[in-house]
């Protein structure tokens, strides 16, 4: 009988891993081969192209910093790039190690490149596109990963993304930021845990720990733009995913299984007011500072059109 790699939740994913004696990334690869009918080489090629997009996006923001049209973002990448470059000299002042600074840099640079219309990989969405590049940069700095391992991280992360997309949502308009940056953090924590050789179960504990701590996160961007608070939030989330992964790596388990955490995230999303689901009608968007920017940019009339996304 031919193997079946279909999965829609974490339980099924782990069953495949156990039955076929494969890590999550390999199940994900076989799932895609089976579902798309594409040969393995083509899928790898597409993944490597996307990995290159991740590198190019970060490098573009580092090489040529530029403010976004709103004037709200664009200054953080050079600061983080300098902190990273001079870490061996001045890093002693900072709380985090060099790999965490690399993670913040990768995440924030991706977001700032997106805000000024650079090319990015929406992974899983444009708003949460910094987290995975962040942890890939962080893990590369720490462990000297090769490109094969980074592509494996992308595969592991995507498997987690597929589970969340099936059970809940990855859209901020539907589920708030917990569904975007929260999901990306869960994806990142699983990828970080698996690439360090831990079991699929342990990787899912990392994902659960990450997502549990993102439940309830509002999507309240100023002017509806993917800038404030999104970009720095991606930077912090990348480091936070590393904490969740380290907890799992050390053997700490999530008390609530991953599938239940995802359902809880969906439930909280359903309870969220539309005002904090990517409409710029509440939270940070309607602070005096937020309204001032929206007015200056001629963006969103406050109180109108609560369903746009």
């Amino acid at each position: 009988m031919s193997k079946n790699f279909a999965f829609h939740n974490g339980k099924k994913l782990l069953e495949h891993c156990a039955e076929y004696k494969m890590p999550i990334w390999e199940v994900m690869l076989n799932y895609e081969i089976q579902m798309s009918g594409k040969p393995e080489e083509e899928i790898y090629e597409m993944l490597h192209t996307r990995l290159q997009v991740i590198f190019d996006a970060v490098q573009a923001a580092i090489d040529k910093p530029e403010m976004s049209p709103s004037g709200m973002v664009g200054k953080s990448t050079p600061i983080l790039a300098k902190a990273f470059a001079e870490y061996d000299k001045t890093g002693g002042e900072l709380l985090l190690n060099k790999s965490a600074i690399a993670a913040m840099l990768g995440a924030v640079a991706t977001g700032e490149n997106n805000a000024r219309m650079g090319v990015i990989l929406a992974f899983p969405t444009a708003g949460a596109a910094g987290v995975l590049p962040g942890v890939i940069y962080g893990a590369r700095e720490r462990f000297g990963l090769n490109k094969e391992q980074m592509v494996q991280m992308m595969l592991t992360a995507s498997a987690i993304g597929i589970v969340i997309a099936n059970t809940a949502t990855l859209s901020g308009a539907a589920g708030g930021c917990q569904a975007e940056v929260g999901s990306a953090s869960a994806m990142a924590a699983a990828a970080l845990t698996e690439v360090r050789g831990k079991s699929p179960e342990t990787a899912l504990h990392g994902a659960s720990i990450a997502l549990k701590n993102m439940i309830g996160l509002a999507c309240d961007p100023i002017g509806g733009l993917v800038e404030v608070p999104c970009i720095k939030r991606n930077g912090v989330a990348a480091v936070f995913s590393m904490s969740a992964s380290d907890m799992a790596y050390l053997g700490i388990e999530s008390f609530v299984p991953f599938d239940e955490v995802v359902k809880a995230m969906r439930e909280v999303g359903d309870m969220m007011s539309p005002k904090i689901r990517e409409t710029a009608l509440g939270g940070l968007a309607t602070t005096p500072t937020g309204q001032k920017v929206a007015k200056k940019m001629g963006l969103l009339k406050i109180g109108s059109n609560p369903c746009s996304n």
Partner: protein, 228 residues
């Protein structure tokens, strides 16, 4: 069973900042240009709902214009779409407006023109970079971007006469081209019918001209697959 692909999660590759307001907008523009076929000298965008309210901040305007100049959502040229259009002598205009109820908040009406031909398309960006076309020249249709990426789209306009659909389908049958999906829409005032077919193979220029020469058929347009 999950219908999500790996690249739904790890993708799309796109010019920022927004999947719905930038990547989706570029796709609608691409789509409109594919249906228009020839080179337009003038394009007008009527921006409905959220598109009309926030298009500047999300560069929806540059993405739409880039799309109309055949740029896919990952083309860095979108940033310079205004300059590129001016060099290409393509006159463009953006106007916020209201298409009325029943349209998604992220909707645009695109009018493409040159001295010979005018085509009007209404399309919506429905989230995550996914798009759909709702009107072609006033005909009410429903064509998704995913379908146009996966299959070859054929657009056929004909007089509302008996046996017209059979003419198209048997023509395709004779050529051994399979039809995956098909829809037709009637425009009462003009007594014309527009059909949109998803095919497993594109028609050659010769085949297009042969089908177009059939009595009662007004025009035939065979689209390339949209690039992602």
């Amino acid at each position: 069973m999950s219908s999500f692909s790996l690249f739904d999660i790890a993708g799309p590759v796109m010019v920022g900042p927004s999947s719905s307001h930038t990547a989706g907008a570029a796709k609608i523009g691409q789509f409109a240009r594919a249906i228009y076929d020839t080179t337009p000298t003038k394009v007008h965008f009527l921006l409905h709902g959220s598109f009309g309210e926030v298009y500047k901040g999300h560069a929806t305007d540059r993405a739409l214009l880039g799309g109309v100049m055949k740029m896919p959502p990952n083309d860095p040229g979108i940033r310079d779409a205004f300059n590129i259009a001016e060099k290409a002598e393509l006159a463009y205009e953006f106007e916020p407006g209201d298409l009325g109820h029943g349209f998604h908040p992220n909707t645009v009406k695109i009018t493409l023109e040159n001295e010979k031909r005018k085509v009007v398309i209404i399309g919506s960006s429905i989230g995550g970079g996914n798009v759909e076309i709702n009107r072609i020249n006033g005909f009410d249709i429903h064509l998704t971007g995913n379908s146009a990426e996966q299959f070859f789209t054929l657009v056929v306009e004909n007089e509302n006469l008996p046996g017209m659909l059979a003419k198209t389908t048997s023509f395709l049958g004779e050529k051994g081209i399979r039809i995956v999906n098909m829809q037709s829409s009637f425009l009462a005032g003009e007594n014309k019918v527009l059909s949109v077919l998803s095919l497993e193979k594109a028609l050659s220029l010769k085949e297009i001209l042969a089908l177009e020469s059939e009595e009662g058929i007004i025009f035939v347009r065979s689209l390339k697959k949209l690039t992602q």
